[in-house]
């Protein structure tokens, strides 16, 4: 057992120190990683929910085109430049900016949110396994597990997903490399399998007509609110808010040779999110608008479809668990990686038993991004705006502060304001980001300024 433990300990990667040049990864690796990560089991649910929310076909296409573009630009111009200049994970950069106290709070929040997300992926995959054992899929109003069978499936899948997450980044990338092109094909094949059933002709001459009348026809399912263009645009943009604007993907992009590698996220946004959401919308229309990802995949593409749903959950839950492990490692310095990932996997597995994480997935995705967004604003301001205003950077590190109260005030204050903003949940993060940015600069502007413009650890 101790030999196994020490072998696992050697899986340590450069989490706490800047990435060295010999560890930088090629663009192809990033394309594969992002493509694999963003064609997930949750795409089966998200695209289907758009149909249940009564989106019109035109609003869907335009909203997805522009929303995903904004997401790619956010990765490329906000996250990637900071990641490449610092070569640090966000967690260690936050420690320099806000002190270990804020880092502890941030990492706990981040790890919990990652675990819930991975739990949702496991829950979606569980609907595929549940189909085999005739386990009833939870209803859209369910919060708690509806059967022992559901709990057992969630536990089994959680254990399998955690085991792979322990193997680390290189292995995950390899696994995504094999799975992602095929999962992408599963979505396309599933949609193609359903289109004849919906009445679409082989020459596609009535495809748009069928789309408008039988798929994205503006009719909402019972209990679901009506979505329009702006809901779709903002959803596509904030779907990975914590990763781009919130800067979590510094953990991945710090391995990039250039900041322009941020554009590789387009492999995740267009073939990934956009196409997969359209395909899953078609698939849910094919089963009479029932929210049952397992049945959707089975009816559309048979057993291979079910396997696709399972593997889509697996390939996405794994990097999410890996990130949760990274977040927790920063606050448990004496724990080996495998033990931390195991702990995160156990929490995730318990969360996966509660169907609310997948029946309320869209709202959860919005809240997840919103909670972490203010820290992204603080880091952006610290990295780029402080040198411009000749305000000392990394004050917490230099003065050995345990906790920067300014960062905490900005974080909590922004979330409180966002909570009371009289606009839809999906739109709140944008004014929130501006509020966080301005309030942090204002709070720091009263401090002692340093002598030379651009006197910064990471250049001007």
């Amino acid at each position: 057992m101790s030999a196994l433990a020490s072998r696992l300990d050697r899986l340590y990667e450069f989490d706490r120190e800047p990435v060295t040049p010999d560890k930088l990864q090629s663009g192809a690796k990033f394309a594969g990683l992002f493509a694999g990560e963003h064609v997930a089991a949750t795409e089966f649910v998200i695209g289907a929910f758009f149909v249940l929310h009564g989106v019109l076909a035109k609003d869907l296409i335009l909203g997805l085109l522009f929303g995903n573009l904004l997401a790619v630009l956010s990765w490329t111009f906000i996250c990637a430049p900071i990641a490449v200049r610092t070569r640090l994970t966000l967690y260690w950069y936050v420690r320099k900016i806000a002190g270990p106290g804020v880092m502890v709070i941030y990492n706990i929040a981040n790890a919990v949110l990652y675990c819930i997300l991975a739990g949702a992926m496991i829950a979606v995959s569980a609907t595929a396994v549940g189909l085999t054992f005739d386990i009833k899929v939870p209803a859209l109003s369910d919060v708690f597990p509806n059967s022992l069978g559901w709990v057992l499936i969630a536990f089994g899948l959680g254990a399998a997903f955690t085991a792979l997450a322990i193997l680390g980044f290189e292995k995950l990338s390899k696994f995504a490399e094999v799975c992602s092109p095929w999962i992408f094909i599963v979505f396309i094949a599933g949609a193609l399998g359903v289109l004849p059933k919906l009445g679409v002709h082989a020459n596609l001459d009535n495809f748009w007509q069928i789309s408008k009348t039988k798929i994205w026809n503006g009719v909402t399912a019972s209990g679901q609110e009506q979505f329009g263009f702006w809901h779709i645009l903002f959803f596509a943009w904030f779907c990975n808010l914590a990763m781009h604007i919130g800067l979590s993907d510094m953990a991945i992009l710090r391995y990039a040779k250039k900041w322009t590698y941020g554009f590789f996220t387009a492999f995740g946004m267009y073939p990934g999110h956009m196409l997969a959401w359209i395909c899953s919308g078609i698939m849910v229309a094919g089963i009479g608008r029932e929210m049952n990802p397992g049945r959707m995949a089975f009816e559309a593409a048979g057993l291979a479809g079910v396997a696709g749903l399972l593997l889509a959950g697996w390939t996405t839950a794994n990097p999410t668990l890996y990130r949760a492990g990274l977040a927790l490692q920063a606050i448990t310095p004496n724990w080996p990686r495998w033990k931390i990932t195991l702990a995160a996997g156990a929490v995730t597995t318990i969360i996966a038993c509660f169907p609310i994480v997948f029946v309320k997935l869209l709202d959860y995705v919005a809240i997840y991004g919103l909670v972490l967004m203010p820290i992204g604003a603080v880091v952006f301001a610290e990295h780029w705006i402080m040198p411009l205003f000749r305000i000392e950077q990394f004050r917490a590190e230099k003065q050995k502060l345990v906790l920067s109260w300014r960062v905490l005030v900005v974080w909590v204050g922004t979330l409180v304001i966002c909570f009371f903003l009289p606009i839809h949940l999906y739109f709140r993060w944008l004014p929130g980001y501006v509020i966080a940015l301005i309030s942090y600069v204002l709070l720091r502007s009263g401090e002692k300024k340093f002598r030379k413009i651009g006197e910064s650890n990471y250049g001007a």
């Binding site: 092109p181 094909i185 094949a189 193609l192 399998g193 593409a301 048979g302 291979a304 479809g305």
Partner: protein, 62 residues
């Protein structure tokens, strides 16, 4: 050489996955045949793609 063959075979398998679904969409094959063909092509993809990515790039084996 082995790696190239596995790479080629895996791409053919992936193409077959797509061809079965297109054939069904065009009305050339029934849904049951599409699903069976798609499953078999998928299994072939995982076998060949795994062999492909696990083989060393500069293998001297022929």
């Amino acid at each position: 050489m082995e790696r190239k063959i596995y790479g080629l075979l895996s791409l053919v398998s992936l193409a077959l996955c797509l061809i079965f679904s297109i054939a069904h969409f065009l009305g050339a094959i029934q849904a049951s045949r599409f699903k069976l063909g798609f499953l078999l092509a998928s299994i072939a993809w995982f076998v060949f793609a795994t062999l492909w990515v696990t083989r060393p790039k500069n293998s001297t084996k022929t």
